[in-house]
Point group: C2
Chain length 326, copies 2
């Protein structure tokens, strides 16, 4: 179970302050709340992604129309997961999910205001399924994620399940089979947001996400967010490993079926090995062993490619849009 | 039938350009579209209201949650009409409408994605009814506003009716019994937006709204938007009359049952006479004839009060938050 803080505020500085506290407590995912987007525009997404490039950023646009446009607006400004309403027309949901996936981001369908069963039957017609189904419920009695789904008559949900709505640590402890818990007011209105966020992570029974990048790592992560092909030259393998794992999480945590691939150097212990088709993300380890043409042709198959070279390799500069030494 | 242009763009300068063209063509109402709000934040509402203070500004926030907060966010930044989704929970719609009315603005309920009949039954429980019901429909065959409602099984709608969705002049000509037509792409994607907007106004069979304030009038209208009590000292009665009528339209065009009141000088022909209880707007004509205490006590009963004095009256300065000489 991952934890997410919903920054449902109208002031950007205040939102960053709460995000900082949440990150300190090990919260995994940061949500730019709907009121914050409507107050500050997409620069709020941009700022959060700049401040916390290692954490998945969710943009809660609550999209109801022009799906592809709003997915793109969110993702191009730094969101890793976009939010479309279950109440939206099927075509809006379809174009939102498709565009999000094309851009290597995830899509969450929010059932607020409508019956999740109706939403699921609407989703049946889609070629690409959203990554998360968000259940908004007044959870006043102990209930498992499964029960929550059953309550709405959903037997099986082909997406990950997220839950939101007045969640507190006590309520979170009772949840089971939920992939993502979203907490707003309990943290944002707390007098001690760090302590509140710590209680949320603890109640979720999950390891706090305690990685905070140093300046070089931060620059590299911003580059990975911005460009489709990035080169990393390894000076300190542990620090590179942290960056690569953070980059992997930006995909893994938001996509229901992420397609990751590791290519090259089998002996490298920089990252775990992935054997997908790399549609979303390909990591080329030991990039110095590849021809430039090979690098280019592998990169072409992924939305995002990270070339990792153990030593300074000039050819990276022709293939990658940016190269970082860490 | 009034006409409204939906500025569904993501660039503010482009939106202002299209607004300028629409205003030149006599379009009555300007809508800050959802993508524009999400891209630029509420400063987009602010800018449009600053540029065109004489025209009602609609903020299409498509609110789905935190109704009072989003109504306030829109209206405090200059919106005269806020938009909440029919798919939103009843409590969200209730708090949105109530807050909008408290702030002397209107509320539109958008039926996009859901059946208007379901929306209307949801609205039945409200103490205050929204001002507009917006029907989104693919209007491919000639249809009257009444037929459009009947199509959804609505016999009687206690709000004004707005229609949106792929409207063109040809389709608008076939409409009947509709209070507000909302046109987006036909104007915003046109190579000649002025001509396109003119065709919309003509098809709606309505007088174009051709009032454009001069600099003094603009300042006064901005003051009326910003403050709850404003004084106007008459130098040129025709120009004052234009300002007062524009201020009245900011209420009349967005509220289903506006409560306006004219107090004082019966001989004044600056504005038509209104005999409501002035809950929304009170115009005190010949304010020089009133005691300061009376002015204050009358002003207290309205959300907005305009004191009009034929000559420079010092006591206005104690009562009004700002005084303009026109």
């Amino acid at each position: 179970m991952l934890t997410q803080v919903a920054l449902d505020l109208t002031s950007l500085p205040k939102a960053i302050e709460i995000a900082e506290a949440s990150v300190e407590a090990g919260i995994h995912v940061l949500e730019v709340g709907t009121p914050l987007i409507k107050a500050e525009g997409s620069r709020a997404i941009e700022r959060l992604a700049e401040e916390f490039p290692e954490r998945p950023i969710v943009a809660d646009t609550k999209t109801m129309d022009v799906g592809a446009l709003e997915a793109e607006l969110s993702i191009k400004h730094g969101a890793n997961l976009g939010c479309v309403l279950g109440a939206a027309p099927e075509e809006t949901i379809r174009s939102f999910v498709t565009r999000a996936h094309e851009l290597c981001a995830g899509a969450l369908v929010d059932t607020i205001g409508v019956n999740p069963v109706d939403v699921l039957s609407k989703l049946k017609g889609l070629e690409e399924f959203p990554d998360y189904l968000l259940l908004h419920a007044a959870i006043d009695e102990p209930i498992t994620g499964e029960e929550l789904l059953h309550k709405f008559g959903v037997d099986r949900c082909p997406a990950r399940t997220a839950v939101a709505g007045g969640l507190t640590p006590r309520k979170i402890e009772e949840l089971d089979g939920v992939d993502l818990v979203i907490v707003g007011g309990y943290i944002t209105s707390s007098e001690d947001p760090v302590k509140a966020a710590e209680a949320v992570v603890e109640a979720a029974g999950v390891e706090p996400y305690d990685f905070r990048p140093d300046e070089d790592q931060r620059e590299a992560l911003l580059g990975i967010r911005k460009h489709s092909t990035v080169g990393i030259v390894v000076k300190d393998s542990e620090r590179v490993s942290e960056v690569l794992n953070a980059a992997i999480r930006l995909v893994e945590w938001v996509r229901n079926e992420p397609s990751l691939r590791t290519v090259g150097d089998d002996d490298s212990d920089l990252v775990p090995k992935f054997e997908g088709d790399g549609r979303d993300l390909t990591l080329i380890l030991g990039a110095e062993e590849f021809d430039r043409e090979d690098l280019e042709s592998i990169a072409k198959e992924s939305v995002k490619t990270i070339l990792v070279a153990e030593e300074h390799v000039l050819k990276l500069y022709g293939v990658a849009e940016a190269v970082y030494e860490i």
